[in-house]
Symmetry: D2
Subunit: 96 residues, 4 copies
């Protein structure tokens, strides 16, 4: 899977993130169909793990963009600490 | 959120899992809309973390059902080891 | 790193797990020294992530051994459900 | 467990982190002893999950300190992007 680089043009990066989210939505719909069709549990679980990994990638791309953008701007304007606290709170949601 | 109990009737449990997957699909669509509308990154990230947690819950419910069902049956018929190896491989996908 | 196979002889597997735990203890002591010496945070964080990954490997090896051993035995003696519930509770500790 | 606040005095925070690492080292030694004594696998696994959670807390404290300190300083001196890239690489180690 192509890596979303934080030095990409913002619009281009937004397009990539939107494409990924569309694909994730389709994958979730596919999992729903697998459960409906009573497919083998292990196959369903492998798909769920794949969607989880895809979501993490989107999350990391957004985190990178946010830190290079908003957080950096806040720090430069002397308002860094609350922006960093907010960033850490979001990171905790992904680590726990 | 209601806990999906492994001692639930299989059909009833399937219905709950399907409902949850429908809700997750809607949440992913909501995240797509948030990115399109250029909503604040941190709010988008909080939603992504919520979907990830919801997916983990579905994964754990399927894992429980699979272990109480297929794995238990395989062990009783003397075929436990390959079923357990397969189970462990799936668990690794979620832990890493 | 060598893979601890669930089909290994139990004593041999125990020895491997004990060696790994000794190494992890040494790594934690090394991290303590790094913080004391005021080493660069990122280097410390990389070491912490390495210990976390090493602990997960030990955890997975024990999980495999437990499932092939105790859980399988419980199922064969008709006492599977409580053993599986306990197994699931432990897995949840690692997934969340 | 007491929360290590990022606005704490640096020396005081260092002391807390060192204390936590000492405690973690002792916990790992305790797990080694449990395996040696052939204690019930599930009890060992619960201890491993506890050490993992304790390590994550230390990691998050260091991450907070690093971001409020080094990363913020780098951004203020116009050198933000490489510092943020390095930060993201470390975060990825904990999320995956």
């Amino acid at each position: 899977m192509e890596n979303l680089n934080e030095h990409m043009h913002p619009n281009e990066m937004n397009q990539k993130i939107l494409q990924r989210l569309k694909r994730i939505e389709g994958q979730v719909r596919g999992i729903h169909k697998m459960v409906e069709d009573d497919r083998y549990c292990v196959d369903v679980l492998i798909q769920i793990a794949a969607v989880r990994a895809a979501l993490d990638k989107v999350g990391l791309s957004l985190l990178e963009r946010h830190t290079h953008g908003c957080v950096q701007k806040a720090i430069k304007s002397g308002n860094g600490d609350p922006a960093i606290d907010e960033l850490m709170d979001v990171i905790k949601l992904f680590i726990k």
